[in-house]
Amino acid sequence: MPLYAERPPLPSDDKRWRIVNGTMRKHGFSRNALIETLHTVQSSFGFLDESAIKFVAQSLRVPLSQAYGVVTFYHFFSLKPPGKHTCTICTGTACYIKGSDKLVAQTEKLLHIHPGQTTPDGEVSFSTARCVGACGRAPVVLLDGELSGQIEGSDLEKHLERWTTQ
């Protein structure tokens, strides 16, 4: 009997799994490559689902509990698929002083969801960030990953309406 279980087969023939496998190979399938690999999964698939976590954990011979622990510990990893559009409001100190809490409240009202949720139709994911490091342009909002600084409530509303009424 082999000392270690063999590496699991790729979950599907989706080409993105090969990218994931590539990251693990680069690190010699070592256990400490867990976070790096999860980053690759998230950047390829947009989120981490159960099969992905299982696959990575088995490949790196990390206990599944530990892999799940890591995924849920870090805010950057998401277990749910993102919506078609993403709206991230920075709630760092500089943005807070410039009224990002009002932007959050306004967005909650407009989309009828709380930060960390996606609209039921899967159109818009809404989240808050702990400082994106563009404090000089506060308040800052990331719309589909693109940074908009010194944003007014009315501008944000226009943007979100464009997404929701499409």
Binding site: R31, N32, A33, L34, I35, E36, L38, H39, V62, Q66, G69, V70, F73, Y74, H75, F76, F77, T91, G92, T93, A94, Y96, I97, K98, A129, R130, C131, V132, G133, A134, C135, G136, R137, A138, V140, E146, L147, S148, G149
Partner: protein, 552 residues
């Protein structure tokens, strides 16, 4: 690589530069990029070509004054322009030899006067993705000097002599740290650069990594030589994609030029660096948590000692310094420790980069000598509070720091002065608040931050921050009494004294400092059920409560 070869590269880069009469530098840091400075650069390039002028339009890192972005710097006239948009490209070219016109907002000098750039000396002057431009400005001279003319011990002596202290916030003497790691016996040692800038309101590390990544690499290589390490890691936040991308390019170029890899500069010294991405946990800025994260685990801190200097990454001796600390290393080696220690105050040497944000006219990044007063930074450089409002407080040190009121504006900036005033240096966030900010809400904001960012390993921090947050919420809502305030003060002491790591130990600081300087605001919420700044909604609650009392 030897001195002559390095000089050749530098000369070639200078020659390349001299082919052009004008250098037009366009800021492409995150702040300006968000205002499409990439399009501005393309437009200026097109205009320059059409005009037939010999201009080199260059992408550079952050120029500092984010409030006036997109920024353009013309060399050799050193003329700066602000708010330059695509439509202004023609004007930028037209006034190259003439007096600048007002439409281009040419009067930005007040922001730059009084600053002293060491860490940021190349920011805005070089293309961060071209190593040769860095070499042309004296880059890698220090590494070569250290490797060929200095022993590891003399490198550490120079760093000790310079009086450099950790720029991540703790202020631990860098020379002493290096010396400790150098003295520990071990075949394998590591150098880690802490770029997990989680402190909300601070973005100097991001800026340095985006504008001048080679300088950090050079600093790390010198440190590795001094302590005897051959492997380094840069831990960067995944939220900083541009910094990661520029760093990746910089590492490739440094390897190609032979400043990383085996037998660097034909010596026995070998060193290479890998990037590790953070995944959004503030606690990973704590060194033992950061090490756990690099090892692929949950980023929870562990008790110290043993310090990472003795048992760090995978149990081996490890040196951890902040991005800005490493950025200071090359200039110190180049000019000598005494040059550096001539700047600053008795116990805080050199310069410090601050992120000036909040309710201030000119937001952005400033680098000033230690010992400058808060008033000079906020009013002379930053231009004071806009819209005719009144200055209320300045917050330094992020969630671990405190808020300083007007009477402390003449405080000279140094590690010790800030701590004795009840705040701290931190990584260098400086958030200005005007009279529209409620200090109790601000304290609550920071407590919410610490509460959600607590890793949950030790009870005082995990449970204490929640309790403090709820008490502060109660005060904000006007539902608290004097007993709650007493309990809050008591909790501050307990959490501060008994938490495992810096996050918990310093979590009470924003509350303590606001209690020290703005106790009247707390009392107004508690006794009079009103918010002096008009931020908290305490009155409707009391009105309802009063009505309930009437009905009862």
């Amino acid at each position: 690589m030897n001195v002559e070869e390095l000089q050749e590269i530098a000369d070639a880069a200078v020659k390349e530069r001299e082919k052009f009469d004008h250098q037009i530098n366009v800021c492409m840091g995150t702040g300006c990029l968000s205002q499409h400075s990439d399009k501005v650069k393309a437009a200026i390039e097109k205009e320059a070509e059409a005009s037939g002028r010999k201009c080199h339009v260059r992408r550079t890192g952050c120029m500092g004054l984010c409030a006036a972005g997109p920024l353009v710097l013309v060399e050799p006239s050193e003329q700066r322009y602000g708010h330059v948009h695509e439509a202004d490209a023609k004007d930028v070219i037209a006034v190259l030899d003439a007096e600048p016109i007002a439409r281009l907002n040419p009067h930005l000098e007040t922001y730059f006067e009084g600053q002293k750039h060491i860490v940021l000396e190349n920011s805005g002057h070089i293309d961060p993705e071209k190593i040769d431009e860095y070499i042309a400005r004296g880059g890698y001279e220090a590494l070569l000097k250290a490797l060929t003319d200095m022993t590891p011990q003399t490198v550490i002596e120079q760093i000790s002599k310079s009086g450099l202290r950790g720029r991540g916030g703790g202020g631990y003497p860098t020379g002493l740290k290096w010396d400790t790691v150098a003295k520990v016996k071990g075949a394998q040692k590591y150098v880690i650069c802490n770029g997990d800038e989680g402190d909300p309101g601070a973005f100097m590390d991001r800026s340095v990594l985006e504008s001048d990544p080679q300088r950090v690499i050079e600093g790390m290589a010198i440190a590795a030589y001094a302590i005897g390490a051959n492997k380094g890691y840069i831990y960067v936040r995944a939220e900083y994609p541009l910094a990661v991308q520029r760093l990746t390019v910089a590492l490739q170029q440094a390897r190609r030029r032979g400043f990383l890899g085996n037998s660097i500069c034909e010596t026995q010294f070998s060193f290479d660096i890998d990037i590790r991405l953070g995944a959004g946990a503030f606690v990973c800025g704590e060194e033992t948590a950061l090490i756990a994260s690099i090892e692929g685990k949950r980023g929870t801190p562990r008790p110290r000692p043993p310090y990472p200097a003795v048992s760090g990454l995978w149990g081996d001796p490890t040196l951890i310094n902040n991005v800005e600390t490493f950025a200071n290393v090359a200039p110190i080696i180049r000019h000598g420790g005494e040059w550096f220690s001539a700047m600053g105050t008795a116990r805080s040497k050199g310069t410090k980069v601050f992120a000036l944000t909040g309710k201030i006219k000119r937001t952005g990044l400033v680098e000033v000598p230690m010992g400058m007063t808060l008033r000079q930074i906020i009013f002379d450089i930053g231009g004071g509070v806009p819209d005719g409002r009144k200055f209320k407080a300045v917050q330094t040190g992020g969630p671990s720091g405190g808020c300083l009121p007007e009477e402390h504006l003449d405080l000279s900036i140094s590690y010790d002065a800030l701590i004795s005033a009840g705040s701290m240096m931190g990584s260098g966030g400086m958030i200005v608040m005007d009279d529209t900010s409620c200090m109790v809400s601000v304290a609550r904001f920071f407590m919410e931050f610490c509460m959600t960012e607590s890793c949950g390993k030790c009870v005082p921090c995990r449970a204490g921050t929640v309790q403090m947050y709820e008490l502060l919420t109660k005060i904000c809502k006007g539902e608290a009494n004097r007993r709650d305030l007493e309990q809050l003060t008591e909790l501050c002491e307990v959490v501060g004294a008994t938490s495992l790591c810096g996050l918990g130990q310093t979590a009470p600081n924003p509350v303590l400092s606001t209690l020290r300087y703005f106790k009247h605001e707390y009392l107004a919420h508690i006794d009079e059920k009103r918010c002096p700044a008009g931020v908290c909604e305490c009155s409707p609650v009391t009105a309802e409560a009063a009505q309930r009392e009437v009905h009862a």
